[in-house]
């Protein structure tokens, strides 16, 4: 994804067991914060009006 021009950090991987609910909350909070910091990615948003 980064190769193609998606900013580093937008795609993240974590390994969480179904028993690790606390870790899940931590990771989700952290990832959403990190992505929000990057701001919206407009690259992949469709620009519908341009279809013509």
């Amino acid at each position: 994804m980064e190769h193609m021009g998606i900013e580093p950090g937008r795609l993240q991987f974590s390994w969480i067991s179904s028993a690790e609910s606390t870790k899940f909350v931590e990771v989700v909070t952290q990832v959403t914060a990190a992505i929000k910091a990057l701001g919206p990615n407009s690259n992949f948003a469709k620009k519908m009006a341009e279809v013509a």
Partner: protein
């Protein structure tokens, strides 16, 4: 490579006559310069149509998918690696095949020659190391090595990795090839530059799916772009849909792509979509030490779990 034709006909004739195979898949002479057509031979007359030269770029493994009969198939290095992949993925059985190995010196890129010609090319004459293109009042001779398909110029597996017959002794493999210069040049770009680079790359795409269909790996009964429930990808020429198609297709080929170049060769609008697959190929090499299609007994890295698999990307 020109001397291969006679030997190919001899082998094909013998295999058909002995009943070892029901058909031999090879190439017949094309109707336009620098093109040959994949062709199956079942009769002695068909066998006489088989040819070999520097325009046999289509990957013949593509024609083996899910076939039931016994088949003789011509295989360059890349074709043979795709045949190995087909065998691993149960798209054909090894017992069904008589693999006729063709040591390859690289296929010529007709777009490269056409761009260097001043006018339409109406005839191409091939010698051992050179190729001469002729048009109206025009004639130019090229060294073959200067006009090879890009993937062929980077190839280090020109000899078939699996074969039952060989049409000639193995050729010398290229040494010291810098296979990932293109990947590095993209790595040197900023994310914005990369985004722009791929935007330009894909701008001419008409979604004809020639790249997908020329690829022996793309045999899914229903491709993700054709699914309607759910519909993963829009059907128009919207740039985000076009890009989604291209990079997802590349991902589907990760660890499976032999860099045979069939996708680029097939593209009617000249998109170098290997820019996607090459990165994944390099990653597979760096992370797993994996080179695809060398051994029918080893499954590709994304297909198996090994405790030593790298997992640095997981937080």
């Amino acid at each position: 490579m020109l001397s291969y034709t006679e030997k190919i006909r001899e082998i094909a004739g013998r295999l058909l006559q002995s009943g070892a195979v029901e058909m031999v898949i090879g190439f017949r002479a094309g109707t336009v310069p620098m093109m040959n057509e994949p062709h199956f031979a079942k009769t002695p007359a068909d066998v006489q149509k088989l040819v070999w030269d520097s325009h046999c770029g289509i990957n013949l493994a593509n024609y083996l998918t899910d076939r039931k009969e016994k088949i003789g198939v011509l295989a360059k290095g890349c074709d043979s690696r795709n045949i190995v992949t087909h065998i691993i993925e149960n798209k054909i059985k090894r017992e069904q095949l008589v693999i006729i190995g063709v040591p390859c010196k690289g296929m010529v890129d007709k777009r490269k020659i056409a761009m260097k010609a001043e006018t339409e090319i109406t005839e191409v004459i091939e010698a051992e190391t050179t190729i001469t293109a002729k048009g109206h009042g025009f004639s130019k001779t090229f060294e073959k090595k200067d006009v090879l398909q890009h993937n062929c110029s980077l190839c280090i597996h020109r000899n078939p990795v699996i074969h039952d017959e060989m049409v000639a002794p193995p050729v010398v493999e290229q040494q010291g090839v810098d296979r990932y210069a293109d990947v590095r040049s993209i790595a040197a770009m900023t994310p914005e530059q990369r985004w722009k680079y791929f935007e330009d790359l894909l701008a001419p795409c008409i979604r004809c799916y020639a790249c997908r269909n020329a690829c022996p790996l793309c045999y899914c009964p229903t491709c993700f772009v054709d699914e309607s429930r759910p519909q993963w990808v829009g059907k128009s020429l919207d740039p985000s849909d076009v890009r989604t198609f291209h990079f997802l297709r590349a991902y589907h080929c990760a660890g499976r792509c032999t860099d045979c170049g069939a996708c680029e060769r097939a593209c009617p609008v000249g998109i170098n979509m290997r820019t996607f697959t090459k990165k994944l190929e390099q990653d597979c090499l760096d992370l797993f030490g994996w080179e695809v299609g060398l051994d029918p007994e080893v499954r590709p890295p994304l297909d198996v779990y090994r405790p030593q698999d790298p997992n640095d990307f997981i937080k």
